[in-house]
Symmetry: none
Subunit: 225 residues, 2 copies
């Protein structure tokens, strides 16, 4: 379990590191908001403990930035005791829980564990193949930073392919999974829809992620093209 602590008070930061490490976490500490944001983006943590009061980029900024970038790592915010508004704002900007200072480590750990348990299950992960991103819950697709609109059938097909990225999938398999399993129409429909996906996801971006394996089906490149 890796945790990131973003906290500018050095004493508190050190205390948190010790407390969490004693509980078996691997801990990184960032002393500024900028560093914190950078680490949160670059590394992959199971949880983030975030002080709201930071010089420069504050906790709210970091939190909303991460959420905007679709980073769903569980975030526990540390707020000042008397600032009620902070707590509302913490949850609004996308934090999963908050703790008012001062707090005991026992409580912190308990909350963090609760978050971790909910954590991942909460929202099904977005699936990526290179710079192709698919959010199953929201039913949204991005190629790099631009969102691409797909119809229901196009979405199902892409979802199937991206879940099997890097694998060869036969036309028959696709028909069974994306169309009704008893579909008895023209298998050419798959070619038609592959083409539609290419037109929306590959051609405009100069990519070639959706490969034809003549005689044995199709494959979505696992690096997204």
């Amino acid at each position: 379990m890796r945790a990131l602590v973003v906290e500018d008070e050095k004493r508190l930061a050190a205390g948190l590191r010790n407390g969490l490490e004693a509980e078996g976490f691997a801990v990184d500490v960032a002393l500024t908001g900028t560093d914190g944001l950078w680490l949160a983006r670059e590394e992959s943590y199971d949880a983030i403990v975030l002080d709201v009061m930071l010089p420069g980029v504050d906790g709210f900024d970091i939190c909303s930035t991460l959420r905007n970038e679709r980073v769903w790592t569980p975030i526990l915010m540390l707020t000042a005791r008397d600032a009620d508004a902070d707590q509302v704002r913490a949850l609004d900007t996308g934090a999963d829980d908050y703790l008012t200072k001062p707090f005991s480590y026992a409580v912190l750990i308990a909350r963090l564990r609760a978050l971790l348990r909910r954590g991942a299950a909460e929202r099904p992960a977005v699936i990526c193949a290179g710079d192709l991103r698919l959010d199953p819950a929201a039913r949204r697709i991005w190629r790099g930073e631009v969102e691409v609109g797909l119809t229901a059938r196009e979405f199902s097909l892409l979802e199937f392919l991206i879940r099997h990225r890097g694998e060869a999938v036969s036309k028959r398999t696709i028909l069974d999974h994306v169309w009704d399993y008893d579909f008895e129409g023209d298998p050419n429909i798959v070619e038609v829809y592959v083409r539609r996906l290419r037109n929306k996801l590959d051609r405009p971006f100069g990519k070639g992620s959706l490969q034809t394996l003549r005689g044995s089906g199709y494959r979505l490149a696992d690096d997204g093209g």
Copy 2:
């Protein structure tokens, strides 16, 4: 301070009543899960102590039912020592803390006081999606600064959507949650109500937060439009 104790072992129930009353709590005791749930709903407590092992409706059921009904009274669950899974499940179903049997009254009281301190303020009073705000307790809605009046059904629908903001929700799911789960009328009703929400919340403000995902349902933009 009013506390509810839900516990079927009479000796333990009596002990808890004495211990808590000695600490200045006004205590109600329920000996069955059904009674406990009923009391928790009807009365207003500052804390609930809930045994997981109950004949009939058990502690988990009570807890999740209450949370679903948006009753956020702090809940302390009493679990069996060796059942690790119970403790996880306790927190997952929405309990705020748990205690393994056997326990000392001193610890119970201490934990309970800790819960009370965090207490009700814990849960966000309002849910937001961008500049769309919903106050579940007060049953009020604002778009930006202006309050919008909704009927009961409109409110339920919006509440459901805003709790799933950013996610695609199918018409069937909506029917199950906003209408009776066994609703057998015309699903067109959802379209009708979506339209009413749009007329009240989007159109007058030049927004388009309530999107149609043809073939797969609706989605409330998580930035509110």
